[in-house]
Symmetry: D2
Subunit: 357 residues, 4 copies
Amino acid sequence: MSSILQGDHIRVSVFGQSHSKAIGAVIDGLPAGFKIDFDKLKTFTQRRAPGNASFSTARKEADEPVILSGLCDGVTCGAPLGMLIENTNTRSGDYDDLRETPRPSHADFAANVKFHGFQDVAGGGHFSGRLTAPLCFAGGICLQMLEARSVRVRAHIYSIADVLDTPYDPVHVQTDDVAAKPFPVLSDKQGEKMRGAIEKARMDCDSVGGVVECAVTGVPAGFGEPMFDGIENRLAKALFGIPAVKGLEFGSGFAGSRLHGSENNDAFLTDGAGHITTATNNHGGILGGITSGMPIVFRVAIKPTASIAKPQQSVHLPTDTQTTLVIKGRHDPCIVPRAVPVVEAVTAITMLDILGG
Amino acid sequence: MSSILQGDHIRVSVFGQSHSKAIGAVIDGLPAGFKIDFDKLKTFTQRRAPGNASFSTARKEADEPVILSGLCDGVTCGAPLGMLIENTNTRSGDYDDLRETPRPSHADFAANVKFHGFQDVAGGGHFSGRLTAPLCFAGGICLQMLEARSVRVRAHIYSIADVLDTPYDPVHVQTDDVAAKPFPVLSDKQGEKMRGAIEKARMDCDSVGGVVECAVTGVPAGFGEPMFDGIENRLAKALFGIPAVKGLEFGSGFAGSRLHGSENNDAFLTDGAGHITTATNNHGGILGGITSGMPIVFRVAIKPTASIAKPQQSVHLPTDTQTTLVIKGRHDPCIVPRAVPVVEAVTAITMLDILGG
Amino acid sequence: MSSILQGDHIRVSVFGQSHSKAIGAVIDGLPAGFKIDFDKLKTFTQRRAPGNASFSTARKEADEPVILSGLCDGVTCGAPLGMLIENTNTRSGDYDDLRETPRPSHADFAANVKFHGFQDVAGGGHFSGRLTAPLCFAGGICLQMLEARSVRVRAHIYSIADVLDTPYDPVHVQTDDVAAKPFPVLSDKQGEKMRGAIEKARMDCDSVGGVVECAVTGVPAGFGEPMFDGIENRLAKALFGIPAVKGLEFGSGFAGSRLHGSENNDAFLTDGAGHITTATNNHGGILGGITSGMPIVFRVAIKPTASIAKPQQSVHLPTDTQTTLVIKGRHDPCIVPRAVPVVEAVTAITMLDILGG
Amino acid sequence: MSSILQGDHIRVSVFGQSHSKAIGAVIDGLPAGFKIDFDKLKTFTQRRAPGNASFSTARKEADEPVILSGLCDGVTCGAPLGMLIENTNTRSGDYDDLRETPRPSHADFAANVKFHGFQDVAGGGHFSGRLTAPLCFAGGICLQMLEARSVRVRAHIYSIADVLDTPYDPVHVQTDDVAAKPFPVLSDKQGEKMRGAIEKARMDCDSVGGVVECAVTGVPAGFGEPMFDGIENRLAKALFGIPAVKGLEFGSGFAGSRLHGSENNDAFLTDGAGHITTATNNHGGILGGITSGMPIVFRVAIKPTASIAKPQQSVHLPTDTQTTLVIKGRHDPCIVPRAVPVVEAVTAITMLDILGG
């Protein structure tokens, strides 16, 4: 197992299961001397907290992080920052049969094979989306450190089901006020339609997926390494660590693969004062694995929540027979809104590392 | 710089520039005692070699690999396998002005900033697609080692421009005879249309992109690690190391993000003899980062070749002025067909590592 | 900073400062399905606990570890095991001037430069020997897992000041009952002399150093990698992470460098039943970085405790003037006895990783 | 296998066997824009070359390195530097029986188990001391890059058998003219005695070991990480990769473990102009894993050459019987003099990496 987001300078070791005593993280390598703005950090982490809105799970979590080490008077001291969030709803009986009957499109079955039946199944165990809370905590700190260097990471809901938000202008990313919204979209009108789609899925005992678009602005040209340590490789390795992520594209991505070179290529421009930009940004800010100085833009595909209330076909493993599974408990009909800050967090950790910690 | 494909057991260190004395690789960690089938290896590596077909660059390369170490009588001996391919066309004058005027959507500009103008620009230097030759050599060996364990890695052209091949059936992947074809598609009829699209791009002094679909069959359930060392993370980190790759999706991927959970979830089935499969394979063989035992299926988006003969806007860096660039030399109007074995190679290296080397 | 003991399978991320809210560790990669014997674990970790004997610091620590995750009913579940130990004596005023006047041969000065004066100085901060408590907890679990595979790790005090214990017979290591002793030596008579030397140092407001000898038995031949990933490299990287370790030698080590080859070489023997051993074990169980099947034997040099009550010369950094420093608080006159289980622990973590986790 | 010296920025992947077509290395991560002084590099690498003196093996090697990539006009271009040295004496029949009868204290037996009998035994295969030639090449470049930053790495023979050279003054290291000597000692008189000891061992068909002392000057305070990524950990992991190294100590090392704290502690001094030093340097320039600004001083124990002409006991593996082995070929009676530049090289690679590449 490696639940360590392993950078060259910053390493985040995540621990916990959905119903263990606590979840948390150790953040190793944060630069010393940074004063954390805890109000800002709380505002950030609450963007992923459940129970804020009707599109989230009904499970209420206090999610109050406790910092164990790494700070002196609120300032990073160079030692690893250890933190935990206590689990208050532990060991519920809701999940007892998951070891025997794996939920479709969950990690249950694969984990059962890998861990020889010893995995913690309660609430999804270590595979629970709840494990993104410490990631958000770590990422929220990294975001502040990036902002002190004029680097900003912002994401929005690009689509839910087949409803599309206004995409970012990849040349002049319009990130300003999206993060503050309870439902982070550029077009509130499209946001309304998305919420409708989510609500309909909930009524149908079903779920929907979507896409998160993220932009990083302010990164100078020349960061990243060729071949296997480029910006894309590094972000990809981190972003696929977010539960339910099944796709990732940079710049024009899959759509770009359908274009001609003359359409997809980005002409270089100069302002005559030595500042080189590109007229378009189909390359998503990365050329040959290295930053070009343009905004880094990518999209992350998130599958529909696997836990749905509709009856589903599965196998009762002890008797090796087909069975119909009805998942108990209440689940998000759509995790995409809550995934937005998680994408920002994981991106921020990775980018701070790439910029040297 | 890290041009090392870094596995837990197998590490491939790639070196060379397009016009340096040689390119090559050191493959560290291959298991000892494996007899390499060199005829088969040659057949495999020639699938990416240029000059084989009208859709490839006219540059003829001998591409005869020389093995420097790591074998005794054609059998791996446990020591790192060093190999090189000599560059016969070195230091051509074709590229002399690339340091001054970066090609749109190439690594030239980003590398110029990163390496302070000292990068080797001839033929794209270390960023040249030619560097995929040693990767194919390394991957070709790994493919043989995987096949000895009944694991097969096969890819085909999924699309070029807007022409689609028949996709893989992700439950029963139809990989048998595609690799042997000069133009690796399932539907030869669609292949004809793709070749037409490529030929048209060539005539237009333009280029086209496409998508490669890859499947890995025969991997048992239970491999891979949660969170940041899952199969998706590992393959992603490797695959984005292939030049021109800008997107990656597993299973139903981006299309899956538009579905409902009830559509995207894969029901578990048993054959009554303890063999668990899924009725569909939208999860692409990976659940929670861990293999499910179903085929691993993913698609890689490849941008249109950046080098096109059409005049393009760029900046003459020494004078900081706009200029019109006309790229000399002959270039592939479409690298997608040649990318097919490269995707197979990089996947094979990664999968062999995941399976324990 | 990297306070992560980074194995291929097992990674221990250590956090905490001497006076932070808690210290602890995340142990990532433990195999699932192992039932931990907590009584045995407690017995082990108490061997390093202070306050047990007159040769230890007078600071009493409860050192009750709290397990946060990674277990189900006392059995490892495959998820990272998070644990913490609360610090009860936090933020004492004893250390307030250490930021201004670094203690000789402590990390104070180097940390002050590295962390720009933001390091936590209280009690030595992250550099405190107290951070070895979570390492012992992690190592105690690994020891149990190794014992289940018939691999044993045992250490004893090889010397304190110039008093030598009976060394291990490196061919037939006599480890049986040393660990159970309050003062872990083979020769209790020499142990008495060592305690005398420690007591004398205490009376003199001084300290003494020593050497710990460790043996690993039961490891089959053939583990470890050539060159930079050999057993020696791996153990060395880990063992120099223990505070105060300044030297390490395997087998005959430095003494062996004074011998002739004919004296230092270890003849191979067979029992006629395919079991190959060596007549002597000057190679310390490792040849070419790889285990030979003989006991792995090494010695670790531990410097005398840097904190002594005697007045010492230092520099008052704010005024850049010489000053005489008198270190307050009570400190171990000799940490070697407590280092014995720490050496065992770090060795166990590393060996379990080398054996495949 | 991992024959990769793995830094954060610089990675040296070593390949080759004693009798393979070539040996060599790929040096990944060298900063771009550095003009290599090839004369100086040649002078450095020739210090380890055999055949220069009567204390070396009689095997003459051309050892002419061929650079394959990574340079433009002799200047590093940022791409990995690939190099090889051809083996001219390949596949001699001298070593044919080593697979069957392992040489005492060589890697033969351990490698035979690890690689299931498929290892290359000729000339020691991948375990041959010859593999240090590409390390010296890589280290020689790093030495030049360090010198450009006023960091110097120098080593001398500290002892051979029981003959001691004048040790370094660890506060004011006297490194100036040792490297230029054919026999690198501070005291030529002691050097004569060492040569006598070597010559006597040769006459006796035996060998002798020794100790190399190394000093790094010019490294500012504040480099290195606490716990497992400190300077000692990093150097240890690298230095134990040199064949025959069995011990390592920093500063006062093992001798320091016999001292009192009041003797071993290093008082801090100021020159009144903000320049902090220590009166003595028992800490060897490293406190808490971090540089103190004082010279980094350490000693490396090298075992006597395992290959001796005297008959030795071993086991004939195919028949599982005791046998007397007489090693054919000519071997160094002492590798310590040739190990001096190898220690410098490996140290230089590691220190350049620690300083940021």
